[in-house]
């Protein structure tokens, strides 16, 4: 449980600062510090056990289907990092309290910082690959917030964006790599993965997995060629840089290398990829750290260089090198955090970080000078400090490597060159800032920083000295435990001491220090040499690349999505043709094995009429009314076809819908132009005709192929169980209201929504009302013909009776809620047509929206009702009752459901048509009225 506390307390801590206000800064900092402090105490309580060899673990199942568990562990490697994160994190909280100005929103800053701390702790303690990745991405996101904290600065925004883009993309690659590993091993559990090195290395997927994982680790740890984001991230407030780029964010990458070392290392691929990348990065970073002019940028490049060093050590496939790498992680975190803080102090007190303006600050800030000198000496690898120890171990390891075979001597030489450069830039950092004359062009007179601001640096400097002086006492324990965990076996025995006697590594260290001094003295020649290269701004290059990408995608969007419906239709149809055409080509013969039925003359005539009407609808489309009439012929013929092929329910529905559709389209046509202008170009028409013909051909072939093949339908189940299970003889209706009642519920909901949508669309619609037809003839003065009026009135009760009949018998004979609803709707619409909207509304004085909605409600409630009896949603029950005169009537809950369907259909249909009719008549310029 304590493991969960360590991770979650800082998360809780991200909420606490917001309890405090920006004015009460002490309170805010204290509130923030409380949670990590408790977490640190919890960790310290666990520490003796972990050093003794225990590995506390904790696992909850989270998303078992994805193999994701909330699993945490605290082994030696985790412990080392947890102590670094929490320890340095607490110092940063103190430092930031005095660094941030009044204008900065302190609670927000602390909240981001705590969020970042949680995600970092999550990475190092995760015991599940996917969980690790999740926290990994969280660090990318929260570091984006931190780097871009001063969001009013363009550099901060761009730097944050760049960091997010690079590390975020690396994170995606990492996910892919981890999933591959998970597939190779069969689980995402960390321990199982770490124990399956042989399986992983033997798998053909090893190389892609390794490449993807390394991509993630290298982007995070700013390894060449992804180093460019780190210097840009220096736009962040200095406490952020001190935390992210010393102990945490960039260390996540090397942590991953250490964590997965037991599972992935040992191969030639690992050796070359990791160690050479590290070596190149080390030299690249060291060179630029010597060249740059901004204090923080110098430190950023030196961080890149040191990360390269650590990466190289992990790549060497040697156990001792792993120990050296871990030791350097610890040492680098201490001296680099301290150095960043001194840079922040200088910036804070002098208002600039430009190394050309800063000189001789020791007069103003002697304490800071001393601290910066100590920590920079550690960075340079000066004896008696911790940096010296790990650097010497590194140099010793490069002498042993099998890398490059016969050219293996190159590695220690290059490592020594890297160390020379490190010594040179460390010297430059201290001497050019704090010594060497007097400051020039400073905006304000610098003075020593306040004690609380210096305190964190002091603590870290003391740690540097203690580890440097007493390594065996202070570091061996934690380091051995961490190495045990990183190697999943007992680490080689570690003899940390300042003095190993005269040997080659010592000589290399001496060369590094002396060489560094000489390079520093001769640095002007180097600068002159470097000026020959054109300066390249990585931010501008990156932004340019992003801009080009955006322009390219914008071009893609503009080309594909140009706002033309015709274009979209074209793409949809072409894709549909391609897909179905392909599958049609896949079958051997179009005709299947079923025998073909003979066509009778009546059928041929019907088909001919349908085809003719369909083609006429298309070819006469510019004369819209004729086209519409042709359309209605097709609809009628479809209805007849349904009747012919034993589907009376469909025939009835199609007939009723046909009537409603034609009325609707006629009404709409009243407001739209009566004729379509001739505007399609000849080539467009040819294209469309070809496309339509191709489409028709594919549809016909598909249909024919389907019809001539035996089908394996699930309908037998419905036919068998319709009477026994649904209590109805009309299988279609039973399917609608019982077997597949949930589908129907969805469909009537859609119907109701469409009705309401149309109601809103028609709201306040003002349209031009033609007062004559297209040939200029006025409308007939007899608006409501007498015959139609009287016939429709006498028809109404009949029609309603019929609809009730159809409704009631629907369960056992053709009919049902849909059809009955349509019949009712048609009868009512006839009243509107015959008498006009005003007349009908006076007599039918109810709103249709509530009817449709209550229909859906009844259907839903019927379904819910079955819960009351302990059955699943929409379970039906039925019984037969004998009612005098009417006969045997079956009452089923399905009938109640059907009533809902009925009401929805009536309500929605009338909502559509009656509202449209209202637009027609409310302010129609009638000739009659003009006369009157």
């Amino acid at each position: 449980m304590s493991l969960l506390l360590i991770v979650l307390l800082p998360l809780l801590g991200s909420l606490l600062p917001s309890l405090s206000s920006n004015q009460r800064r002490h309170q805010c900092a204290l509130l923030t510090a409380a949670m990590p402090l408790i977490a640190l105490l919890v960790t310290l309580r666990e520490t003796p056990g972990v050093i003794a060899g225990e590995v506390p673990r904790l696992a909850f199942s989270w998303v078992p289907a994805l193999g994701l568990d909330l699993a945490l562990r605290l082994d030696g490697l985790s412990l080392l990092f947890v102590l670094l994160i929490l320890g340095i994190g607490l110092l940063i909280i103190l430092y930031a309290r005095h660094y941030l100005s009044e204008a900065d929103n302190m609670p927000r800053f602390y909240a981001y910082l705590m969020l970042f701390m949680t995600s970092m702790l999550g990475i190092v303690m995760a015991d599940n690959l996917i969980l690790l990745w999740m926290f990994w991405e969280l660090t990318s996101l929260s570091s984006f917030l931190l780097i871009g904290f001063w969001s009013h600065q363009s550099a901060a925004r761009k730097g944050a964006r760049m960091a997010l883009a690079v590390t975020g993309m690396g994170g995606l690659a990492l996910l892919a790599g981890l999933i591959l590993i998970g597939q190779i091993v069969g689980t995402f559990d960390m321990q199982t993965v770490l124990d399956s090195r042989d399986v992983i290395l033997a798998d053909p997927r090893y190389l892609p997995a390794l490449l993807l994982i390394l991509l993630g680790a290298f982007t995070k740890s700013a390894q060449f060629p992804f180093q460019f984001w780190l210097p840009q991230a220096m736009a962040a407030p200095t406490p952020v840089s001190a935390f992210l780029h010393s102990a945490t964010m960039v260390k996540a990458g090397v942590f991953l290398l250490a964590r997965l070392h037991p599972a992935l290392a040992g191969s030639q691929e690992w050796l070359y990829l990791v160690s050479l990348t590290g070596l190149v990065t080390m030299l690249y970073g060291a060179y630029f750290a010597l060249i740059k002019l901004d204090l923080k940028t110098i430190l950023a490049y030196s961080t890149v260089s040191h990360l390269g060093l650590i990466t190289m050590l992990f790549g060497l496939n040697s156990q001792m090198a792993v120990v050296a790498g871990l030791f350097h992680i610890l040492n680098h975190a201490t001296f680099k955090a301290a150095l960043f803080m001194t840079a922040g102090i200088v910036d804070h007190e002098c208002g600039t970080r430009d190394i050309r303006k800063l000189k001789g600050l020791w007069r103003y800030m002697p304490m800071t000078t001393a601290l910066a000198a100590i920590t920079a000496a550690s960075m340079a690898g000066f004896p008696l400090l911790n940096g010296f120890l790990s650097k010497e171990m590194m140099l010793a390891e490069t002498l042993e490597t099998p890398l490059l075979g016969g050219l293996a001597w190159l590695i220690p030489v290059l490592a020594t060159i890297g160390s020379i450069l490190a010594a040179a830039y460390s010297l430059r950092y201290v001497r050019n800032t704090f010594f060497d004359g007097k400051p020039r062009e400073l905006e304000k007179t610098p003075h020593e920083a306040s004690f609380p601001m210096r305190l964190p640096v002091l603590v870290l400097a003391i740690v540097c000295i203690i580890i440097g002086l007493f390594p065996a006492f202070s570091a061996t324990g934690i380091l051995t435990t961490a190495a045990d965990a990183a190697l999943t076996m007992p680490a080689p025995e570690l003899h940390l001491s300042i003095w190993h006697g005269f040997n080659l590594p010592l000589l290399m260290s001496a060369i590094a220090l002396i060489g560094g001094f000489m390079v520093y003295v001769l640095r002007q020649h180097l600068f002159t040499f470097h000026r020959q290269f054109p300066s390249r701004n990585s931010l501008a290059i990156f932004e340019g690349a992003v801009q080009r990408l955006v322009r390219f995608t914008q071009w893609g969007i503009d080309t594909l999505e140009n706002g033309s419906l015709q274009r979209y239709m074209l793409w949809v149809v072409i894709s549909a043709l391609a897909v179905s055409g392909m599958s049609l080509m896949g079958i051997e013969t179009l005709k299947g094995e079923l025998a073909v039925q003979k066509a009778d003359p009546l059928l041929i005539v019907g088909a001919a009429i349908t085809c003719f009407a369909g083609l006429a609808t298309a070819f006469l489309h510019r004369r819209r009314l004729i086209s519409l009439i042709m359309l209605s012929v097709v609809g009628l013929m479809a209805s007849l076809a349904f009747a012919r092929f034993s589907a009376p329910d469909l025939a009835l529905t199609q007939l009723a819908v046909e009537v409603v559709t034609v009325i609707l389209l006629m009404l709409a046509l009243f407001f739209l132009p009566q004729k379509t202008p001739k505007e399609s170009s000849a080539s467009r028409i040819v294209r469309d005709v070809l496309l339509a013909a191709g489409f028709g051909g594919v549809v016909a072939s598909l249909n024919y192929a389907l019809l001539t093949r035996p089908l394996n339908s699930i309908s037998d189940y419905f036919l068998e169980h319709s009477v026994s299970g649904g209590g109805g003889h009309n299988v279609v209706n039973v399917i609608l209201v019982d077997f597949r009642g949930f589908d129907t519920l969805g469909e009537i909901t859609v119907l109701c929504i469409a009705g309401i949508g149309i109601y809103k669309l028609l709201n306040r619609l003002r349209l031009f009302m033609p007062s004559s037809d297209s040939e200029g003839r006025p409308w007939s003065p007899d608006r409501y013909p007498m015959i139609l009026a009287s016939v429709s009135q006498s028809l109404l009760p009949m029609a309603l009776l019929v609809s009730v009949f159809i409704f009631l018998r629907g369960h056992n004979a053709p009919g049902g809620g849909f059809i009955a609803g349509l019949v009712t709707a048609v009868a009512l619409i006839l009243m509107y047509i015959a008498h006009g909207v005003e007349w009908a509304q006076q007599r039918l004085s109810f709103q249709y929206q509530p009817i449709a909605v209550s229909g859906v409600a009844i259907a839903t409630l019927t379904g819910v009702g079955s819960w009351a009896f302990g059955y699943p949603f929409l379970t039906s029950a039925f019984g037969h009752f004998h009612i005098p005169l009417i006969g045997d009537v079956e009452l089923a809950t399905a009938m109640l459901f059907d009533l809902g369907v009925y009401l929805t259909v009536v309500g929605a249909t009338l909502m559509i048509l009656a509202n449209l009719g209202k637009v027609t008549t409310s302010h129609r310029p009638s000739k009659q009225k003009e006369k009157a």
């Binding site: 419906l565 519409l628 407001f671 496309l691 028709g696 024919y704 019809l707 309908s715 149309i758 349209l767």
Partner: protein, 116 residues
């Protein structure tokens, strides 16, 4: 009979698609309606073309038409109507607000054929 049915479906689909590719709203709506007839016939035929099948379950019926496509098509017809209604009224609204009945919202000069 199958070939006849398939041909009819194909011709209806082709006519509907041709109309749906036109530039004015009304032909597009008519085309979509025609297309939905074709699709309904197609869907219906997936259960096979049964002549003289019994509509309801009874003991003396020898064969039944496949009820499942029928149920699907029945709701499809009603939903199709809702869709037609929605699109045609959307077209009217667009004409009221934009002043054009072109599907791309182009403001083309309408021939004022409906001048009084």
């Amino acid at each position: 009979m199958e070939a006849l049915f398939a041909t009819t479906t194909g011709i209806l689909a082709a006519s509907g698609l041709y109309l749906a590719l036109r530039g004015r709203t009304f032909p597009v709506v008519v085309g979509l309606t025609l297309l939905s007839y074709a699709v309904n016939l197609f869907l219906f035929s997936t259960g096979g073309l049964t002549t003289d099948g019994a509509a309801v379950i009874s003991d003396d019926a020898s064969k039944y038409a496949d009820p499942l496509p029928q149920a699907l098509v029945l709701t499809a017809i009603v939903i199709g109507f809702a869709m037609t209604a929605f699109s045609v009224i959307l077209a009217m609204r667009v004409r009221g607000d934009v002043g054009s009945d072109h599907v791309n919202g182009n403001r083309v000069d309408e021939p004022r054929e409906d001048k009084s």
